[in-house]
Amino acid sequence: MPDTLTPLDLTARVLSDALPYIRGFHGKTFIIKYGGNAMTDPALKAAFGSDIAMLRLVGMNPVVVHGGGPQIDRLLGTLGVKPLFRRGMRVTDEKTMEVVEMVLGELNQEIVGLINQHGARAVGLSGQDARFIHARKMQLAKLKDELEAPDLGFVGEIERIDADLVNDLSRCGYVPVIMPIGVGPDGEAYNINADLVAGRLAETLRAEKLLMLTNTAGVLDRDGRLLHNVTASDVERLSEDGTAHGGMLPKLDAALHAVRHGVRSVHVVDGRVPNALLLEVLTSDGVGTTILPDDAPQFLADSRRYLEPAHKDPS
């Protein structure tokens, strides 16, 4: 057997190696939280559009949820409004809400275009469409060192999500592209953290995976080293002891909720790597951190149980 592969051999190998993944994930739903550099760098944007189109065209059901934080900040800056954050969430007054809706709407159409250019058919949605994301005003609890709980304005939390609209679109071969706006009982629109929308959507749709694109290598430990695999309990600890902070908190919150409610795995993916999504879904080693439920098979714990003398072997 020759020791080196020709370029042609290599191409053939890469393509045929993808078959088991395509077969295994056929018809499965993937929620992709799109954000960060992958949403601003032209080359990364094109790669994202082509990754989503590819996943769709080989028979998977990708659903995109996007935020727009930096773009919103930029326009607010131009308008002379200073962005204000409390506990990783944007304080949203009436004027800010107008800007949020405007920017998200524009981004939404841009993403739809990006996916369409690569041959799939994307449909832009807001949670107001068919009222599929039900929200209520978010009330934060007062912390010990605060005089009163911060009022986040038109920031909503999710009450529930109706799966029908998104499921119907997926079934018909479309790629839903969702902006994180929810609607309250009074018809009021609320700005919702996109990570939390992605997490809840993954749970509601019983997604195979939730993939969150970030501007970091993944989830880091206390010394700044990348964690490749963590469990739900690990994630809880990282949030509580302050190792994870800022924008990573809502991501981990969403991830935790998702893996504790039926989503098989959550991946915090390094969005700075071109084609990060394809690598994560179609190859054995992705880029970033995999978060698994606590009840996923635990190799060593299971082995210990198996090796205990009481275990019966077939004889």
């Binding site: 020759p2 045929s16 088991p20 295994g24 795995s265 054995s284 080693d285 299971d302």
Partner: protein, 154 residues
Amino acid sequence: MNRVGAALSTERIRVDVSAATKHQVLDEAGKLFSTYEGWDAAHIAACLAAREKVGSTGLGHGVAIPHARLKGLRHAVAAHMRLKMAIDFDAPDGKPVSELLVLLVPEQATEEHLQLLAEAAAMLDDRSFRDRLRHCTDAAGVYRAFVEWTPTGP
């Protein structure tokens, strides 16, 4: 040499195994041991399958460590199989598996064998090791990758 390397032999390494299901791959593992050691292939496959019932031995990232204890075995033995095409193995990340390190251990001395399994898991959790393993094209290369592995990091 590390524990896994000490249990492995080039004769028990295959880089071109055909199997379409988890069941078939465990059968192939049984045959591999039976060819070189003269053991009962079906019994080994059944023991490996019994361990899978406790929980999949897939680690994620396309690798698995099927293992079983075997009556009458004097010391641990290992085999390695690479599948021509990856198969579903109920791995925690849902990804198909193509590299399988198979371990058989004696019935007694549980703690020692847990250490062997822990070392095997540490190896296959090591991304640079997985990359090296996947790039080996023959049994001799796979064997070298295993025996030359040393733990890194803290």
